[in-house]
Symmetry: C2
Subunit: 254 residues, 2 copies
Amino acid sequence: MRKPLVGINMKNYINTRAQTSEWLEATIPLLENFSDVDTFIFPSMGTLETTANLLAGTSFGFGPQNMAPEKSGPLTGEFSVESIIDLNANYVEIGHAERKNLFHEKTSEIAKKIKLALDEKITPVVCVGEEVHANDTNELKNALKKQIEALFQTINLAQWENVVLAYEPEWAIGKASSAETNYIESAHQALREIIRELGGDETLVRIIYGGSVSKENAAEIVRQKNVDGLFVGRFGHKPQNFADIVSIVSKTKG
Amino acid sequence: MRKPLVGINMKNYINTRAQTSEWLEATIPLLENFSDVDTFIFPSMGTLETTANLLAGTSFGFGPQNMAPEKSGPLTGEFSVESIIDLNANYVEIGHAERKNLFHEKTSEIAKKIKLALDEKITPVVCVGEEVHANDTNELKNALKKQIEALFQTINLAQWENVVLAYEPEWAIGKASSAETNYIESAHQALREIIRELGGDETLVRIIYGGSVSKENAAEIVRQKNVDGLFVGRFGHKPQNFADIVSIVSKTKG
C-alpha cells in the first residue's frame, strides 16, 4: 500500500529565515494527528539550514528545490548533493517546469540529477507533465512516455521504489483552477502503465498531483485510484490551509 | 584610491557546514593584520547560513554564487535577493562562466541580476572575460566592450561605484597557469576605458583578476596599475594560501 504524501514548494515566495520558521512552527503542530500521511517542504533556497534545524528529529521531510548534476566541483551557483546530505535533508525537487522554461534546464541534465539523487539515497520528487492539454489519452500517454523514458533511462529498475513523481501539467501551473479530475486520473494511470512497460514496479511509486491545488479540489483529486497525494503551491502558504489539505488526504486516502 | 580586494569562490568544492566553518575559523585570524585589504567569500550554496552566522560582525564579506533575476515569485530553485538581505550578506557573484557555459545563463538574465543587486544595495561581483585569447588589444577591447555594454545597459551611471568587475578570461579558468601579466593589464585597462566611454566613473570601480591565481603569480599580477585585487579559486582552499595572497596584495597594493 503506498503511503499518501503531501508536499509544498515555496518557490521564491517566502525568502527569510523568520518567515520560514514562522510557517514551520505554525504548521507542525497542526499535523500531529495525521501520521498516516507523509509530508515534505521545499523551502526557499536561502532558508534551508534554518529548515534543517527546525525539522531535525521530526518526520516532516525537506530538501532543496534543485540540485547540481554532479556531486562536487567547478559548478558555481549550484546546490551540491553533499550539502543535502550534510543538512540531513531527505527529498530534492528535480525538473520543475520553471527550471526548464525559465532557467533552460535540459532533460539530460535532469536525468543526471535523478540518478545522482537516487544513488545518494535522497528521494527525488521528479516533476513531469505535458506542456499542452492533450486531446485524448493516447496523446497524453505518448507525451508522458517520451518524458519518462528520457528522464529515467539511466536508473536501475530497483530504484523506482524511491522515486516520487509529481505530475504537474505545465498548462495548469499557476492557473486559477487545476486540471479536470478525470484528466488527472488518466495521466496518473498512464504514468503507471509507462513505468510497468519500462520494467519498473509501479505499485511502489508514489505519484502526486500538483498544479493549482486548493481545499476545493483536493478531496476529489486525491480520491482518484492512481493519485497518492498532492503537491501544494501558493495555496499552502497559510499553515492552516496546508494542514487542511493534509487532513483531507488523511480522511480520503489514509 | 580604490581599496584592494581579495575574494574566493568555493564553487561546489567545500559543501558541508563543518568544512566551511573550519575554513572560516582558520582563515579569519590569519587576516587580522590586513585591514587595508577588503576580503569576501562565496561559499557553497548549502553553507550560506552557517557563513552568515560566523561572519556576523566581521568585515569579511560574503554572499551567494548566484541570484534570482527577480526579487521573489515562481522561480523554483533560485536564490532570492530577499534571502541575501535576510542573511546580511553584502556581495553576490553574478555571471560566472560556469553559469553561462554549463547552466545556460543568458546575458539578458545576468543584466537583470546586476541591476536588481545594485538596486538592493548588494555589491555584484560581475564576472566578465573573453572566451578565446585575443590576438591584440583591439580585439580584446572589442570582445570586452560587447559584454560590458550588454550587461550594464540598464544601470544608472552613479551605480558603477558599487560594481566590482572580476576579469576572468574564460580560456584561463581552471588551467594550471594564469593569463600573462601584460595581457591582464591590457584587459583591465580596456575595461576602464569602456566604463569611461559609457559615462561611468571608472576610477571608483574595483577590477580584480581571476583565473588560476596562486602565490607564484599573485604579486606580479596585482602590481599592475589597473588591477585592484584577486579572485581566488582552488588555490585558496588552504586558509594559509588565501592569507598569503591577501598578505601579498596588502604589501603590493595596501
